[in-house]
């Protein structure tokens, strides 16, 4: 596949790595915001090839990981109802709420379906007028526009049996929260390219200036990430802190105006809890009052859900770079993708899952064996 192979070329990667090695003169800590970038970094072994002084901190940008427990529990409650067809992207099915997940709801008789597009859920609603069809709308600015468009379409077409359980989150307030923390070690950001392809770059100059951090808009293929790192460390070494676009083939400064207009029409900004982090003001979207009829929380009255969380999990520290996943006592022993203690172990984009999948060689031999599934 040419357009992917081109961005995995080992020769070009070597040149970028040589440049990075020649540039870095002292320790730096960069955060890649997006879980897709974390996954790519670990999958391709990029962190092993970077200078030792350069630390990549895995950010909270995994939509599956950060969806609050309360919302997962609401999804489980709604999906369990006999009149409901509950539609979701695949990777949300395995995320545990309090005591169970959507796979389990399905095994108990719930009609839970994996879809590849929110419009598929709308089609299911049209085909099943006597059922209630609910789509689980989660994710960052990347997935929000098609979800917004789907609600817009449902209203336009008068599809009354369609609603959406919305738990969208926004990246800039999360960056602000991370940088405002007294224990923050992050000195620069690789911003999520897909998010910026929608929202543009306008939200970042203020953050770069206020916290004096370079923010480099970065893609997801190995060469994209190396180029993002190269530009970020070049700024750090020079004492600069500007917003730079290293993903120009996908990101325009103004983003995608049509998508943004759709977001503004359908959603409104709200405070949002991030799983493992807590509530970050202004960091989420919910359906605006104009679309209240299509709001699943309103339609199914799922307030009053009580959530329970284990005390032992340290993924909050992982999310802000204070702890590497394999340094956690529970990692690979009581906490595995089979029995996740924390959300970062659940999603394939979560930092703990990425380390579990790809990095057990870094662990002491005895612990690696313990972490390896018995076949």
């Amino acid at each position: 596949m040419k357009y992917i192979d081109e961005f995995q070329d080992p020769e070009l990667a070597r040149r970028l790595l040589d440049d990075i090695h020649a540039t870095v003169t002292r320790p730096w800590a960069l955060m890649e915001v997006c879980g897709g970038q974390t996954h790519s970094i670990i999958r391709h072994g990029i962190d092993q090839l970077l200078p030792k002084q350069l630390e990549l901190i895995h950010g909270p940008g995994c939509p599956v990981c950060v969806t609050p427990l309360e919302v997962i529990d609401k999804a489980l409650e709604i999906a369990s109802r006999p009149e409901v067809i509950f539609c979701s992207f695949g990777d949300m099915l395995r995320v545990p709420g309090t005591g169970r997940d959507l796979f389990q709801v399905r095994s108990e008789g719930g009609d839970v379906r994996v879809v590849y597009s929110p419009l598929d859920a709308l089609r299911i609603a049209r085909q099943n007028p006597d059922r209630q069809v609910v789509f689980f709308g989660i994710g960052f600015e990347t997935t929000a526009p098609p979800n917004a468009m789907t609600v817009h379409q449902a209203r336009k077409l008068g599809i009354a049996n369609f609603s959406m359980l919305v738990s969208h989150v926004r990246v800039p307030p999360a960056i602000e929260a991370i940088m405002s923390s007294p224990s923050c070690r992050v000195q620069g950001f690789l911003a999520a390219g897909h998010v910026c392809s929608v929202m543009g770059m306008g939200e970042y100059p203020g953050l770069a200036e206020r916290f004096r951090v370079p923010i480099v808009v970065t893609g997801f293929e190995p060469l994209d990430i190396l180029e993002g790192v190269r530009r970020a460390v070049r700024q750090l070494e020079r004492g600069e802190h500007t917003v730079d676009n290293a993903y120009a083939r996908a990101v325009r400064p103004e983003g995608n105006p049509a998508a943004r207009a759709m977001l503004e029409d359908v959603f409104e900004v709200t405070d949002r809890a991030w799983r493992g982090i807590g509530v970050i003001p202004g960091s989420g979207w919910r359906l605006s009052s104009k679309y209240r009829d299509h709001d699943a929380e309103h339609r199914f009255q799922v307030d009053g859900i009580r959530t329970e969380e284990p005390a032992a999990c340290r993924s909050g520290e992982v999310l802000q770079g204070l702890l590497k996943p394999h340094e956690c006592e529970a990692f690979g022993t009581v906490c595995t993708p089979r029995t996740p203690l924390g959300a970062t172990m659940v999603s394939s984009e979560g930092a703990c899952a990425a380390y579990y999948l790809y990095r057990r060689l870094d662990m002491p031999a005895a612990k690696a064996r313990e972490a390896t599934p018995v076949v």
């Binding site: 596949m1 493992g276 329970e308 203690l341």
Partner: protein, 367 residues
């Protein structure tokens, strides 16, 4: 794993960003177990293995089950008999490159072939759903018969059951097969030793993507046909070069990753593959990139993985390439002493990562 040490943590109260207490960040997902069967139990990954180890094996006992191979190799009257069974629940019943009828023959024939046996006889059990058209049953049966003739195997016994409408998926088929293991052939993961060369017989991920393309209504720009085929002839060609192959497996559910993990775990050897040498057709890579799936975990139906002593590798590879079903055979790695029981890939950029056993089924990512 039922410890649910919980703290009362409804959604935390909102705090101004500047006051965010990072030290108090916690991660909340509770431990849990599964009281019911979920789809992942049939996915060929860790959940499937647990089902066998924790429920089936203890309940059945017996030495044959301890082999845990695709086929059991059993002594009988001085000969060694290979015996295997498999059930087919694919949807849709017809897909590009084959049908459930072809699968039901080729799957069992291949399970036998992986023990070195040429399948001789098959049984065939149909479970039909009330309402399925007889024309469909006819077409599936004809496909099954044609596949059997191509594979050189006879269907000698069968069974039919009908379940009420809504209790099946049109047609389910179970096949069981028997064949003889030639003298001198001993294929099992315990024979793998460091230095063995890992060969795959061609492009991987094709069957799984072909099924996804029709089942989910996804169009990937080019039609992808299943690689469904009977591998007995290819195995014969390999054994003709040397009976001293160490292990053969067809990487079906769970894909190449699951197969290599099973061999690594059962043999105690480490396995290293070179990612760039694994043959992934552009159409499969494309589809996987779109869906966020890894081709290493996608099912195949007409491919095999061989662990071959290094001294025989070139000759075996040559014989495989001379066979139509092995024309694109390639060496992708080797067994090693390091990291026993683990499968590791060298990435295209020069890094390394562990290739794990899949948990259940792969799930398309949100973005």
């Amino acid at each position: 794993m039922s410890d649910t040490t919980a703290v009362s943590a409804a959604v935390p109260a909102a705090v101004p960003a500047a006051a965010l207490d990072i030290e108090a960040w916690t991660c909340p997902a509770p431990l849990r177990d599964r009281p019911r069967v979920v789809m992942g139990h049939g996915g060929g990954g860790a959940l499937s293995a647990e089902l066998v180890q924790q429920i089936f094996a203890p309940a059945y006992g017996g030495a044959a089950l301890a082999q845990m191979g695709d086929a059991a190799v059993l002594p009988l009257g001085g000969a060694r008999l290979a015996f295997s069974t498999d059930s087919y629940v694919v949807r849709p019943l017809f897909f590009p490159g084959g049908s459930i009828g072809d699968l039901a023959v080729n799957g069992t024939v291949n399970d036998l072939a992986m023990s070195g046996a040429r399948a001789a006889y098959l049984s065939c059990g149909f479970i039909l759903e009330e309402g399925v058209e007889l024309d469909v049953v006819t077409r599936v049966s004809e496909a099954l018969g044609a596949a059997a003739r191509t594979a050189g195997v006879e269907v000698v016994t069968g069974d039919t059951k009908v379940v009420e409408a809504g209790h099946g998926d049109g047609i389910f088929i179970n096949t069981a097969g028997i064949g003889l293991v030639p003298a001198g052939v001993d294929l099992r993961p315990q024979r793998v030793v460091p230095g063995d060369v890992v060969i795959v017989s061609g492009a991987i991920g094709v069957h799984g993507v072909a099924i996804m393309s029709v089942r989910e209504g996804l169009e990937f720009g080019v039609e992808i046909k299943s690689d469904c085929a009977a591998l007995g002839g290819l195995v014969d060609a390999m054994l003709a070069v040397t009976p001293d192959l160490h292990v053969l497996r067809d990487p079906t559910r769970g894909g190449l990753a699951a197969t290599l993990n099973e061999i690594a775990a059962a043999s105690g050897a480490g396995v290293v593959i070179r990612e760039r040498d694994v043959p992934v057709p552009p159409a499969v890579a494309n589809a996987c990139a779109v869906l966020g799936l890894d081709p290493l975990y996608i099912a195949n139906e007409g491919k095999l993985v061989a662990f071959v002593p290094r001294e025989h590798a070139d000759a075996v590879l040559e014989a495989m390439r001379a066979h139509p079903l092995g024309a694109d055979s390639v060496i992708i790695g080797e067994a090693v002493e390091e990291h026993p029981g683990l499968v590791v890939t060298r990435t295209g950029l020069g890094g390394t990562r562990v290739v794990d056993l899949p948990m259940g089924e792969q799930l398309p990512r949100i973005c």
